[in-house]
Each structure stands twice: as structure tokens, then as C-alpha cells.
Subunit: 414 residues, 2 copies
């Protein structure tokens, strides 16, 4: 049985207990929410997940870091270094998006080392070997399941109805999802239905066996602010909402992926629409990036959008690094991306009213008022950077900081 | 006559014409808005401002960079380097917050070199010399006016009524405004009324002569998310609303300063409250920072808050640098702060529906779809960083980027 089925049967599993404790939520509430589908606990039965995570209603906002090889940087070791960096920076989940040679080994090594949930996009592997048949794709998916992957992105929502929508659409940037573009190209070349849609029940049976959580990909997510919230995006979201119900009916855990590039004032609408159309299933967003012109700083454009999205109800933020739109991130980009996204997630947790988030900020501000530097540095979201900066910027070994020095407002008035 | 008085008299000044052109707004509309007080054009009569800027309703969101010496870093030359960096990164205004020796020379050199409006906080100078009498303070203000400063922050709203409010308040962080803390300490020591409040009409007469714009400081801005939108903050805002009307009655241009640290879901309320209580006067916010725990990355916590604030109607964003809460920013911090704040301002301009902001993003996305790299790099908000990163991350001299390489979604589907 899957965590969803066990929860429905009234059972609180060891993973639920562990994750509930980390979250500070009563295990029974966690069980209820998993049973209702509004919370997920991605944990492949094949592996022993040291730190299971809860994603969904009432949990803290979670942060995913994408790593993985590419044609230009095929070395698995570099990706394992990024894995360490992402975990040290506080990522709650890792996706291995490898798209170079050594795909399978990269995944194996990441799964071996990673104490938090690991996700993949199996179509990359099928696409990489140029064999986009239904059989090959399902064979790759089964291999990922068997290896222990906890959640997989599957672009099941792009069916022929939705494809018509995109073909009539005057988008600026067309299709920007890598997985989505594999599917669409295959559909256009063969004239056939998307195999992940046509054989969705078979997919459900396959993943249910391993309790692999489905992350329903948004192949038509907007890649330009001008394309946001358009017909194709919403047409696909409607399909995803239907697929959520089918997954639940088969006892399969599921979340839904979302945009992308979205202007700031359309983000809340996007979140509310997903929550309604997808029946409260957890929402996993990439960004959203609030402008198209931030190349080199897209961890910031995404942090702005991610904070707003999560405050409005998004549950899981996929990080964006400073390298987005320019190239494959290196280890430092990974670090910057995780930190920026954690800031967004935490800012949203304050807005969501999560008590432990408020206690953290209060403790920091109390330490700030008291000029207790050791405590301030301990409480910084990124301790290492704060500590290094305080040291470098305090040549006079002051009790205050070097901006106001003796004129520190904290000291002037008690 | 001030720009406000000239606008009321139906005159379109050379500065209005120049600024209107840069903005892409008809000069007559600019004149009407300046006359109504909902837009300002800070430009001291004493100097010839090369790039006058419009701040307020219908204009693009503007970005201010704070520079200035401190006790630990008193070198004027370092600040002039920061000035160049801030201007090159695209700051629309500069505030000289020097608080070390050589205060006057720093200001003089900055004014000489800066083509955009320059602001100061005169009380720092009075406070620095430990002479916080009414006469000394007004003497310093007059000196700033005569030197050519375009706008000054004056904490006029902290009167004895408001002081009672703060003394009864259970704030976590108390008073965090440097200028505000000078005023409050002086009021507590002398038992007298805040001279900037008690002699507000005299202040208006003084600045009117030079057409120096008043930036009404928020001495009680919250410095912790737990203190946001509390009694003292709103009590002061009420006073500032009254002072706005008095400034307008005397023909003095005025804007209002705002927080500070504010949880994401309280930002819109703060902006709407200011717009209502201050009768549509332009709103100049510091951040807001959406969490207290971001030390080392507060340009990001502030970019999140600034984007939301400006989208809700704030007109002018004061940058925050990565050094905030840790020390005086260096030149690189200044650069990072300006860029992050410009991203926030531009994201808000998209939300505000400003046409030239949309055209910029559309042009970028079109170039991205066409894999036209030269155009993408030219259109990046931070060209230098994007250019360097593209070069470094493209070892194979690909037509795509090194993340997806040949599997680029832009290429898979046309």
C-alpha cells in the first residue's frame, strides 16, 4: 500500500511520524491530510529515506534544487558536489535532471547519498537516447522506480485537445518546458496521442507498486510574462485536475507543477486557480519569475515570485539559480539558488502564519536589539555568509555594526 | 516658485519637459500630477540637475541608493567610487548618509558628480556634532539647501503624542531609524517637542526658497516583522498625512517614507493606508524586508517586499544591500543592491501595466525564442553580469545554452 492508502486506512506510518515531528504537526493531522490528498509524503518503498518531507497544506513551504549533468558538463562528480552544496544550504528535495551520458550512474550515486526525497524526469532519459516510444518511456520509468526515485515529473496533461490550443496560440516564447517539448515534438511527428496521457492508468499501476509520487508536469508553462495565464496553460491545468482525481482513485500520491514566468499581479490568480481546478493537490512551482529580463539574477526574480506564490498557497518551490537562461549552474549558483528560494519560502511561511517561522524571526530581532552578535549569526538563514560578512565588515571590532557605529539606533533608545 | 507652484500656475518647466520625455508621459499630464501633489520632481534651484526624475503616480518605479561614510570608513573617495557604481548600475537617485568626519566635503563632491537627484538626512550632521538644538538643526538644513541637495529626509512626524504611543508599545526591536532615534533621544532628554514638528512652518519656508523636496521620515518604522503595522507606526503615519497637507499649502513638494520590516501579507495594507492617509503623496519605502533572518542576503528579502510594495502603489524604492544588518556596504554590495532593487521596481512596473516595461520583456523573450544571444545580452537588466556568465558558461560555443544543449526546448518545437 502507498502512504496515501495507508493514511486512508487510518495508519500512521513511521515516515509520517518522522516527518510530522520535523514539521511540528500532530501525526494524526498529517495522516488526515495525506488521506485527503492535500499533503504528500514522497518516499519510494525501495529506499530508506532518512528525512521524509511533507509537502502541502499546513506544512512549511519546501524547496527543491535541480542538479544534473549536461552535454557540456557530463562529469557525475561535479553533480555530487552540487548535491552536497544544495543539502548544506538547506534544500528539502533534489531533482536529478541529468541530460548527458552517465545518466543512470548519476542517478544511482545521488540516490545513494541523498537523505531527502529525490525526483527525476524520466522522459529526459528516453529522449536522450532518441527512443520516444511508449514502451521505451515506460521501461525507463520502471527503471527509475526500481532504483528508488521518490517522485517523477510526467507531462501527462498535454493531450491532443491541449495541443490544438497551443497551435492556435500567439505565444511569444512557445514551449519552454524541456520535457513538454519532447512530448509535443513526438506527438507532432507521430500524429499519435501522448503516451503518458493515453496510458495513464498503466502509469498509475506502475508507480503505485513503488509508491512513487507523480509530479504532473506543466509542459505548456509560460516562458515569458506575456504568455502567462493564457489558454494553453489553463487548458493543460484543467487536464491535470482531472488526472489528479484519477491518481487518487488508484491510491497514487500526486502533486501538480506550475509556472514559470508570471507577472507579479497574476500570481495569486494562478495559485487559486490551481488549488480549485486540482482539488487542493499540492502545487509545485518553478519560480515564478516576475520578469524576463533578469538573466544573471534570476534567483532574485524567482524569489520574488516564489514568495508571492507560496504566500498565496503554493506548497513547493523549485529553485532558480543565477545561471538560469545562461547556462548550467555551478556549485556556487546552486548555493545562491537554494538560499534565495529558502528566503522566499520562509517569507511565505510568515505570511501563512506558521508559528515556528514567527518564533525564528522574533528570536533574531530580539538578538538584534540586544546587539547579541553570536546569536544573530546563529539565527541567520545563511549562517556562513552572515558570519564571514560580519567579520570582514567589522575592522574596529565594534559592539555595533560599521554602518552607524556609535550612532546605532538600537543603542540610542532603550 | 517651486515646481509645485509653477505646475499649479499652469507652467511646464524645462525640468518637467526633460523628465516627461525620459518617462514617455505627456508633459501636460506631468504638470497636472505635480500640481496635484501625486508626483514630485525633486530639483534644487541651486544646481543644474542633468537628469531630473519623476516620482509618483503613473511614473516608472524609481530606485534610490544610499552611500556615505561611517566612523570606520571615513574616506570620501570610497564613497565617490560607490557613487559611480550605483549610477552605472542604474540608480535613479542617491542619498548621502555620511556619518563620519568630512561630512560636508563628501556631500559637496557627490553633488558635483551626480546627474540624478541627491538626498540627505540633515539630522545626521547635527547629531554627529552632538548639537541637537533647534537652531543648529535648522542651520545644517539651510546649509544642505544652499549646497544644492534636492530632497531631505526630516523626521517631523514624531511629536509628543506619537512618543506616548511608542512608550506604551511592546515592540521587539523598538526604534530602528537612525534619524528617528536622534529625535526621540533628544525629546526624552529635553522633555521638549520635536523641533522639526514644532517649527514645521519655518522649515517649509526655508526649503521652499530652494525648492528642496521634503521626504517625511518614518522614525518609528518597524525594524522587525513582529513590529509591523503597529500603533506607533500608524500614529506617526497619521501625523505625516497632516504634514503633507501643510507642505502643499505652502507650495512645498513632499513625499512620505515607509517601512521597514513587514510580513509579505501586510505590505499591500501598508501601501493603501499610506496612500489614503497621505492624500496620494508619493510613497518612498525602505524594502520592505519580508523577514528578519536574511542577513547577508537582505537585498533579496527587500526585493521581494519592494516588488510587492511598488506593485501595490509605492513609487520609490530605497535599495537594501547584502551588507544590511552586518556593516557598511562596499562597492560590490552597492552594485548588488541597486540591481536587486531595479529588478523589484521593474517587476512592479509590469504589474502597474507600464507599456515600456512590457515592451522590454517582450523584446527579451522574442530574442530568447530566436536564440539571438547578442540581443538577449543587450536587453538584460544587468548586461555586464549576463555577458560574463554567458561567456563563462558556454565552453562549447553553442548556439543554445549549456543547460539543455541540443535538447533546447526553444529548438525542439517551432
Amino acid at each position: 500500500m502507498t502512504q496515501l492508502e495507508l493514511a486512508r486506512a487510518g495508519r500512521i506510518t513511521a515516515e509520517m511520524k518522522l516527518a510530522a515531528e520535523a514539521e511540528g504537526i500532530a501525526p494524526e493531522i498529517v495522516r488526515e491530510r495525506i488521506a485527503a490528498g492535500v499533503m504528500i509524503l514522497p518516499a519510494n518503498k525501495q529506499r530508506d529515506l532518512a528525512q521524509p518531507k511533507l509537502i502541502g497544506y499546513g506544512a512549511t513551504t519546501k524547496v527543491n534544487a535541480n542538479i544534473g549533468t549536461s552535454g557540456d558538463w557530463p562529469e557525475v562528480e561535479k553533480e555530487l558536489e552540487k548535491l552536497e552544496v544544495a543539502l548544506a544550504a538547506g534544500a528539502d528535495a533534489i531533482m536529478d535532471l541529468s541530460l548527458g551520458p552517465n545518466l543512470r550512474r548519476a542517478r544511482q550515486e545521488i540516490l545513494k547519498r541523498c537523505p531527502v526525497p529525490v525526483g527525476t524526469v524520466p522522459i529526459y532519459e528516453a529522449g536522450f537516447y532518441g527512443e520516444l516510444s511508449k514502451d521505451k518511456l515506460f521501461q525507463v520509468i520502471e527503471d527509475h522506480c526500481r532504483q528508488g526515485v521518490d517522485f517523477i515529473t510526467v507531462h501527462c496533461g498535454i493531450n491532443r485537445r491541449v495541443l490544438e490550443e497551443i497551435q492556435e496560440s500567439p505565444r511569444v516564447c512557445g514551449i519552454v518546458s524541456r520535457g513538454g517539448s519532447f512530448i509535443v515534438r513526438w506527438m507532432q511527428e507521430t500524429g499519435e496521442e501522448n503516451p503518458l496521457y493515453a496510458h495513464f492508468d498503466e502509469l498509475l499501476e506502475l508507480v503505485r507498486e513503488y509508491d512513487v509520487t507523480l509530479s504532473l508536469g506543466d509542459g505548456l508553462r509560460p516562458g515569458a510574462v506575456a504568455d502567462a495565464t493564457d489558454g494553453p496553460q489553463i487548458a493543460e491545468l484543467l487536464e491535470l485536475g482531472r488526472l489528479v482525481k484519477r491518481a487518487w482513485a488508484k491510491g497514487v500520491q500526486v502533486m501538480v507543477e506550475g509556472p514559470g514566468h508570471v507577472p507579479l499581479n497574476q500570481i495569486e490568480t494562478n495559485i487559486k486557480l490551481q488549488k480549485r481546478l486540482c482539488h487542493g493537490a499540492p502545487f509545485y512551482v518553478l519560480g515564478p519569475l516576475v520578469t524576463d529580463v533578469g538573466a544573471g539574477h534570476d534567483h532574485i526574480t524567482a524569489a520574488i515570485g516564489g514568495a508571492i506564490a507560496a504566500a498565496a498557497g503554493a506548497d513547493f518551490l523549485c529553485y532558480v539559480t543565477p545561471a538560469e537562461h545562461l547556462g548550467l549552474p555551478d556549485a556556487d549558483d546552486v548555493r545562491q539558488g537554494v538560499i534565495a528560494t529558502r528566503i522566499a519560502a520562509h517569507a511565505a511561511d510568515l505570511a501563512k502564519g506558521i508559528e515556528k517561522a514567527w518564533n525564528w524571526d522574533k528570536a533574531m530581532s530580539k538578538a538584534r536589539k540586544e546587539l547579541d552578535w553570536e546569536q544573530q549569526l546563529n539565527l541567520a538563514l545563511d549562517q556562513a555568509t552572515a558570519r564571514e560578512m560580519r567579520k570582514r565588515k567589522n575592522p574596529g571590532h565594534r559592539a555595533e555594526c560599521s554602518m552607524c557605529g556609535e550612532f546605532c539606533a538600537m543603542k540610542q533608545c532603550q
